[in-house]
């Protein structure tokens, strides 16, 4: 299916994509190391390195391995998950604006979290939260699909986005009513979650999230040829012999699972799904073999950077990571927009 007549071009593109991914990975490593040293307890860089190699004090080891490391790993996973989710959604809906936040998938997750907080205000919900949010995201996506699909024509890209926006508005309205019923303490918790605070910060969450993200990323990469074809448009894809509807449904499911899992642990972080793929596309072009891994890396870099700043800017208070993501992501996105022809 690939137009690889110009071998020289393809070769050049592969080299460029690999270089880009290496550079982004190195940047992630650098932020990773700086991030290990960011937080209420200060450590000299030397101490961090010594501790990493098992030479540090027990207290340093506890801080690094039990508090900071899981959070950083989670941040990377969330960033990759949300960005690849946005990447898939943009390909399937042919809409550069698609992202899990805009389609209402994040709101669906939020609604379930609020309902839970409302009905079980005294239960420590940190453990149940990821599952609930994922459940909400899944329900929302199924609702969008049911309302957007037509028997004969299947899914039209515009209809998915239109229906998604309508569902998001309905859920936001419902959330508004429910938020008013919450008492101030629970309200504060929900508001912080909705603003995108990393919720899960210990190894349990890493273990819960890791198989999802890795598995789904690998699957998306395996489907990158299909994404290439789908992004050409439905008619062209059908005439090229792709079973368009089935593949779309499958890939939408993958996008929702990625977003749901990430939002569950990370709070309602928006903008990564929008900015990550756009940045990646600018760097490596539109072939999904490169675009999927590059999106994962740029998304991870964006969130890990934002999380570091979130911990660092207003020490000892913490800003929700989602807010920092938007503050970094939006101007960059606008810069892209102004330059874009």
């Amino acid at each position: 299916m690939q137009m690889s007549t110009a071998d020289g071009m393809t070769h050049k593109r592969v080299t460029r994509a690999i270089t880009v991914m290496l550079v982004v990975s190195v940047l992630i490593m650098i932020v990773f190391i700086i991030s290990m040293d960011t937080g209420p307890i200060r450590m000299a860089p030397g101490e961090v390195i010594r501790t990493v190699f098992g030479e540090g004090t027990a207290k340093d080891q506890l801080t690094l391995f039990d508090f900071r490391l899981p959070r950083i790993v989670i941040t990377i996973l969330i960033g990759a998950g949300l960005a690849v989710s946005g990447c898939i959604l943009q390909a399937v809906t042919h809409n550069p604006l698609s992202d899990p936040g805009i389609l209402g998938i994040n709101s669906g997750a939020g609604l379930v979290v609020i309902l839970y907080t409302l009905f079980f205000p005294n239960v420590q919900s940190t453990f149940a939260l990821p599952f609930l949010a994922f459940f909400g995201a899944l329900l929302t996506a199924m609702l969008i699909y049911a309302l957007a699909a037509k028997r004969r024509e299947g899914l039209s890209p515009t209809r998915v986005v239109l229906v998604g926006i309508a569902i998001a508005a309905a859920i936001n309205a419902a959330m508004m009513v429910l938020e008013m019923l919450l008492d101030p303490q629970n309200f504060q918790f929900v508001a912080t979650w909705l603003a995108g605070s990393i919720v899960g910060t210990d190894w349990t969450y890493v273990l819960a999230l890791l198989p999802w993200i890795i598995g789904l990323l690998a699957f998306t990469l395996y489907k990158s040829r299909v994404l290439n074809v789908l992004s050409l448009g439905d008619q062209l894809a059908t005439s090229l012999g792709a079973p368009v509807e089935r593949e779309k449904r499958l890939l939408l499911g993958v996008a929702v699972a990625l977003a749901g899992a990430s939002v569950a642990v990370g709070g309602a972080i928006s903008f990564v799904g929008l900015v990550g793929p756009h940045l990646a596309r600018r760097l490596v072009g539109t072939k999904y073999e490169f675009l999927v891994p590059a999106s994962a890396l740029t998304g991870a870099l964006l969130v890990i950077l934002a999380d570091m700043l979130a911990k660092w800017v207003l020490q000892p208070t913490e800003i929700p990571t989602g807010i920092v993501v938007a503050v970094i992501g939006a101007p960059y996105f606008l810069y892209l927009l102004v330059r874009w022809k």
């Binding site: 309205a173 603003a195 939006a330 102004v338």
Partner: protein, 346 residues
């Protein structure tokens, strides 16, 4: 595209329906007057219509019910009429101008800008008087719109619909994130959420006196540019070929949207869906001519808000359901129906 082609061939009868437009206008106004009266009479204290009549035309300052009507119900109902008309017309202008069926005032960064300024003033000057709050929120709406519009215009290749939508989404997200940050940091998020939920419950005459002139100016302006908007809605190339100065029209439209939406958002909060749904309904009835769409949208928008405001008070008395939620209850199913229809004329 078929519809547009007909208009170009000087056969607008096929797609613009002046007769139906008249019916919608007259019928809508009659229903509006009735709902306006009902809206004054219902609430925690049910007041018979005869008393309402008396209170409006022969006001006795010592009667409790007269006071309720004069100071609470009447400004609220009047504000509903003007807010509804303003939001619907702002949405119609935006949809015609950007040729984007999803365009609504929230898109231009107006809601985001208002929210940001409001969060900022809650945090920095918690005891600000209402008039200043309104002014600040209005200024915020302006900043949001100027940012979105400016970025769209600065871009290589000019101000296209996609670019405007993308810029709007990004700026709104940024402003909302900043306001959330300020609100969370200052522990004010519940105050902000109350305002964001939208509603007419606190409306008083001072606010209405601000609102009315803004909306009237905006509506007259919208009627003046309506013909140009119709041409613009056929597409930029057609409009240019017909000799229209498209950027000028867009600039004027943006200013009108800012006046209309800014004024209503400062009073009622960012009420979604009116600007999105009502123009679609109006187009469904009267076709693609904005000279007909705009007045019909104004009447239908007023009607939607006044009826929803009655609903907000009646659903769960004596408490009020947020107006934004009631409108979503009506707007979402209708919007879903539109989304599932095959052709969405613009």
């Amino acid at each position: 595209m078929n519809d547009s082609a007909k208009v170009i061939n000087n056969q607008p009868q096929a797609v613009s329906r002046p007769l139906i437009a008249m019916l919608v206008l007259v019928g809508g106004l009659v229903v509006l007057v009735v709902s306006f009266a009902v809206s004054i009479s219902v609430g925690a204290d049910m007041i018979p219509l005869s008393t309402v009549w008396g209170a409006v035309f022969h006001f006795h300052a010592q009667e409790t019910q007269d006071q309720v009507i004069h100071y609470l119900r009447l400004p609220r109902a009047v504000a509903g009429v003007f807010v509804g008309a303003a939001l619907a017309v702002a949405g119609a202008l935006m949809q015609g101008m950007t040729r984007n069926p999803l365009a609504d005032p929230g898109l231009l960064g107006i809601n985001g800008g208002s929210e940001f300024m409001l969060a900022l003033s809650f945090a920095l000057f918690p005891k600000l008087s209402f008039a200043y709050l309104l002014l600040l929120s209005f200024a915020g709406a302006g900043i949001g719109a100027v940012l979105v519009y400016g970025l769209g215009a600065l871009s290589r290749g000019g101000l296209t619909a996609v670019r405007l939508t993308l810029a709007g989404a990004a700026i709104s997200a940024l402003l909302v994130a900043l306001s959330q940050g300020i609100a969370l940091y200052g522990g004010l998020s519940q105050d902000l959420t109350y305002w964001l939920a939208g509603g007419m419950s606190g409306t008083n005459w001072v606010q209405v006196e601000w609102l009315i002139p803004c909306v009237i100016v905006g509506l007259i302006g919208a009627m003046v540019v309506s013909k140009s908007v119709t041409v613009l809605s056929l597409g930029e190339e057609v409009a240019t070929a017909l000799g229209q100065r498209t950027n000028m029209v867009k600039l004027v439209c943006t200013c009108l949207v800012l006046i209309l939406a800014g004024a209503s958002v400062t009073i009622a909060g960012p009420i979604g869906f009116v600007g999105l749904v009502v123009p679609h309904i109006a187009r469904y009835f009267v076709g693609v001519d904005y000279r007909l769409i705009i007045p019909c949208a104004a009447v239908l928008g007023s009607l939607l808000i006044v009826l929803s405001d009655i609903g907000a008070r009646m659903i769960h008395p004596p408490y009020e359901v947020p107006l934004g939620a009631v409108i979503a209850l009506v707007g979402v199913p209708f919007f879903l129906y539109l989304a599932r229809r095959d052709r969405r004329g613009l």
